[in-house]
Subunit: 143 residues, 2 copies
DNA sequence: TTATCTGCAAAGAATTTGCGGGAGG
DNA sequence: CCTCCCGCAAATTCTTTGCAGATAA
C-alpha cells in the first residue's frame, strides 16, 4: 500500500513551526497506520514510542496536520473522528464499511471520480473535496 | 420538495410505542424542516411549539426515529449530527456543501446510484447504505 | 392499571483550552 | 534567549442515562 512518510519536516520548515519530538512521533505513527485510527489510538501508538506524550498534544498535532491538509478526517458514524494520511489525488479512494464486522475496505474507481467532478460542475461548483462511504453486508454467494 | 409528513402514528402503532405529544411534535418539526437541523435546532423548533419539551426527549426521539429508519443521520464534519427525514429510495440524494457560505445543495444522480451499487458488488458486498458529500466552491463564471 | 415515557440533572465521552514550565531555532 | 510548544487539568460541547413522577393505552 505504498504509503509515504508524512513530510513533517518540510511542513514545519515551510510554515515556521517547530519540529518537536512529539510532532515527529505523531506524524510517523499516522504514516505507518494502515488502518484509520481515531485520536485515542494514535495516542496509544505514540505513547508506546514515547510515553511522555500527552493526549492534548495528539489532538493539537492532529488538528495541525489536518489544517495543513497533510492528513484527512474521516467520520464513520461512531462518535469519533478517524484519520488517515492524505494521499495524492491519483491515489484518492473511499471506504466500504462491512456492517457485520466493522472491517473497512478501501477502493478507488475512476468512473466515480469523474462523475463526482461532473456533478459538481453541473451544480455550478468546483469540487474541492469529497467523501463517500458505502455500508454493506457480504454477499451470500461470495465466501 | 414534496416531503411527506413522517408517519409517526403508524410507527408507534406497529412497534407498540406510545404516541406521545412530544413525539408528534418532534416528528412534525423534522418533517417540516427543509434544511438539515442538528439536535439543538430541532429542540428549539419543538420548544417554539411546546416549551415544556426537554432536550433529552429530543435526543431520545431522534435516536428512536433513526433506529427505525424514519430519519437519516448526516455528518458534515462539524462536531454534531444532523438529521433529515428519510426519503424513498427513488428520492435518494446527496449533498454538496458550499465551502464559502455553508449552503447545502441536494442532488441526485442516477448514474451515481448505479455505480455505487456496482462497486459494492464488485467488492463482494450488498449495499445497505451509503453517504456522499461533495465540498466545493462556486465556479467563477457561473454567477 | 401498568408499562412506557418525560423532565431534570448528573454522568459520560470526545475534544478544546488556559497556564506555567520546557525546549527548539 | 525568546517564542512557540508541551503536559496537566479544567473547561466545553455533544450526547446519554438514572430516577421519580406523569401519561398513553
Amino acid at each position: 500500500m505504498h504509503v509515504n512518510q508524512l513530510d513533517i519536516e518540510a511542513l514545519c520548515l515551510s510554515k515556521g513551526l517547530k519540529l518537536t519530538e512529539q510532532r515527529k512521533i505523531i506524524a510517523q505513527v499516522i504514516s505507518a497506520s494502515g488502518d484509520h485510527p481515531h485520536v485515542e489510538e494514535v495516542y496509544q501508538r505514540a505513547s508506546a514510542i514515547d510515553n511522555k506524550i500527552s493526549l492534548a498534544t495528539v489532538y493539537r498535532t492532529i488538528n495541525l496536520l489536518e489544517s495543513y491538509g497533510v492528513i484527512e478526517k474521516l467520520e464513520f458514524g461512531d462518535g469519533r473522528a478517524r484519520y488517515e494520511p492524505k494521499r495524492s489525488e491519483a491515489d484518492h479512494h473511499h471506504h466500504l464499511i462491512d456492517l457485520t464486522t466493522g472491517k473497512i475496505i478501501e477502493f478507488y474507481d475512476a468512473e466515480l471520480e469523474k462523475l463526482k467532478a461532473d456533478i459538481a460542475t453541473r451544480l455550478g461548483y468546483q469540487l474541492v473535496d469529497h467523501r463517500l462511504e458505502l455500508f454493506g453486508v457480504p454477499l451470500k454467494n461470495k465466501n
